[in-house]
Amino acid sequence: MAENLTYKCPTCGAEIFWNASEGRFVCEYCGGKFTLKDMHDNGQTGEVDEENVQKHEELEEGEYTESSDGTVGKDLVKYTCSHCGAEIITDRATAATICVYCGNSVIMSEQIVKDFKPEYVIPFRVRKEIVMEAFKKFSKKPLTPKDFDCESVVDKMQGVYIPFWLYTGSCHGEIVAKGINRRRVANNKTERTYYNVYREGTLGFECVPVDASSKTDNDAMDSIEPYNYKELKPFDPSYLSGFLAERFDEDKEKCRSRAVLRMENSTRDALEATCTYNELEVRDYQKQVNITKTTYALFPTWLLYTTYKGQKFFFAMNGQTAKFTGNLPIDKVKLVLYSLLGGVGGSVIGAILAAIGVFS
């Protein structure tokens, strides 16, 4: 059986959840507000007994089929809700979910212990109401089809803690380049002075994030960066209350190359920035990345998988900063009409430029 991660209001005893905007537990019934410390002081630690975790059950072949909307992968397993006894079918990497029958928060304790235990978590800051407003604003683009129904789309949005690897280290780089300075001289000529340039240096990096879930779109997770690390908290299961959570299914070695590439590119930029020439032609770039520490953390995101006219769309929002990303559907008729309008505008500008003698 999966363990229920249930928190009771210390005042009235009703079930309470983490409130994103308040940054603490809020009781919907009596209005009581409690910090994590208050809950711990009340004896509700949410700690998991690592030696006695409940294991998942394997599905029998053909027992269930995966969803077609991309919300879960193909590797499904079965848990039993300890609150109502219902079967919970979920992905093997799911760490927390909500029982669809009783509505309780359910934690898959085997997914957050030992090697899977996150060191840090950034709690949710953005409430679902804010997500709705932000998505309405985000989707108001000139090419968005009129029948793309924001209300129903946002309703399907889910708060999910996504696993991230945070890489700390440094990159040692060397560039060999040709620096060129230009100068106007007499008779309308240009003088070019060439220099042989060499730079060698080291740039330090702290907590470069790489998402560690194979199910999430890597580009989308990159696009909702950055997270504010000042709000990193030591992991406590209670932060998962009322949200979904995934554990990593791509290990730190597999994700390392993405962090290394980013460090190498930024180091090259930093070395080039020390060369104050009009032009710089880099002939050779040698680099060596040294990762000194890798940290496992959970970051808050609002995720949405939806289908519009048979095509799948994925949107993500940073659950801490409310930054949105995703590719919206495009109305091709609008695209053609606006482009034609742009063409007319281009013709007018062309005629004006010709009239003032730009082409002659």
């Binding site: 003088e191 080291t202 990096f205 590719n327 505008g345 002659s360």
Partner: protein, 88 residues
């Protein structure tokens, strides 16, 4: 597959129009205004279309990590040696 082929062909035609229409216009027209009008149309259309599509596409791969780096690089060696000079 067929839709993709049509899309690629359409983009190819538009790109060609943008490149060659100014040349055709300048070869066939007598006035600069005509060249401006004819050349301006495909350029304006493609620029507008590309800009509008970019507004609806916000996902992009992160290739750098500047936000997570130290403020300054620690330079261990720097040389700038004069090579030669040209005037043209």
């Amino acid at each position: 597959m067929f839709r993709k082929l049509i899309g690629s062909a359409g983009m190819f035609l538009l790109a060609n129009a943008a490149c060659y229409m100014p040349l055709i216009a300048s070869a066939q027209s007598d006035t600069d205004q005509t060249v401006g009008i004819i050349a301006g149309f495909p350029i304006g259309a493609i620029a507008t279309g590309a800009w509008l599509v970019s507004l609806s596409r916000t996902k992009k791969k992160a290739t750098k990590a500047k936000e997570f780096s130290d403020a300054n690089i620690m330079l261990e060696k720097r040389t700038d040696v004069f090579d030669h000079k040209t005037t043209s």
